[in-house]
């Protein structure tokens, strides 16, 4: 994905662990890990809102755009 969620940087700045953030946000640690590693396809605004509230930051602090190849979504030919 060319848009990434920079959770690792914010967790470091707020001195918070992933599991603690998961408890505060109400999302499982596994799903937060998917966000952190850039494997997520999309994020709900409600989740983004909860992350910003828990980390006391703005959405722009979490989202990072890297110019590059846009993924082809139709990759289910089996």
């Amino acid at each position: 994905m060319t848009i990434r969620i920079r959770l690792d940087r914010m967790l470091f700045e707020r001195r918070m662990s992933l599991s603690e953030l998961a408890d505060r946000v109400g999302v499982t640690a596994a799903n937060l890990s998917i966000l952190k590693t850039g494997r997520a396809r999309a994020i709900r605004l409600s989740t983004l809102e909860a992350l910003c509230a828990a980390l006391d930051c703005q959405p722009g602090d979490l989202l990072e755009f890297t110019p590059g190849r846009i993924e082809d979504l139709s990759d289910f030919d089996s």
């Binding site: 799903n31 997520a40 396809r41 979504l73 289910f76 030919d77």
Partner: protein, 179 residues
């Protein structure tokens, strides 16, 4: 009654499909060796096969090459049916698990479509053979038209369904990876 998941309509359908599948495999296991036995035991001549049963002599209405051709056609039909039924069983398994929109089901539906094409061609071939081979007791169905538009329409529907499932699998994965 629910449509998906355990103890749903899908689970009963799976049981019925399992029974039909095992029966079809049984038929295939009988016809296949019969063809081999016929090829070995009967001279490859035009004189029809005959055998005595319950004091009566039964004579095949077809010559031996024609009979072998018919049996090969029947075995091809049954083997294709086994392939199609197995794929349908696997799809119904995912229905019972409550998760039908999986990428594997796209390939399975395409295999079912291909299998139906072979089945229809085998049926048309057998009908042609019965219509054009001289017999002592002509089949009452020998003069029927071969082309069955309903069957070919079903093939088209299956391929369209495969594309629907492809899109469904993509949407499912997107939903899974939406946090």
């Amino acid at each position: 009654m629910r449509a998906l998941g355990p103890q749903s309509v899908s689970s009963f359908l799976k049981i019925a499909l399992d029974v039909v599948y095992v029966s079809t495999v049984g038929v295939s296991a009988i016809v296949g060796p019969s063809i081999v036995a016929l090829l070995i035991a009967t001279p490859f001549t035009h004189s029809p096969l005959s055998f005595r049963l319950s004091g009566q002599i039964w004579v095949s209405p077809f010559s031996n090459p024609t009979l072998i051709g018919l049996l090969i056609g029947v075995e091809t039909y049954v083997v294709c049916l086994v392939v199609v039924l197995n794929r349908i069983r696997r799809i119904v398994e995912t229905l019972v698990m409550g998760d039908p929109f999986r990428p594997e089901n796209v390939g399975r539906l395409r295999w079912i479509g291909a299998g139906l094409i072979v089945l229809e061609c085998a049926t048309d071939g057998l009908r042609w053979l019965l219509a054009h081979v001289p017999q002592s007791h002509p089949s009452p169905r020998a003069g029927e038209s071969w082309f069955n538009p309903t069957a070919w329409f079903a093939v088209l529907v299956v391929f369209v369904l495969a594309e629907v499932f492809r899109e469904g699998a993509r949407l499912r994965q997107e939903a899974e990876l939406t946090i």
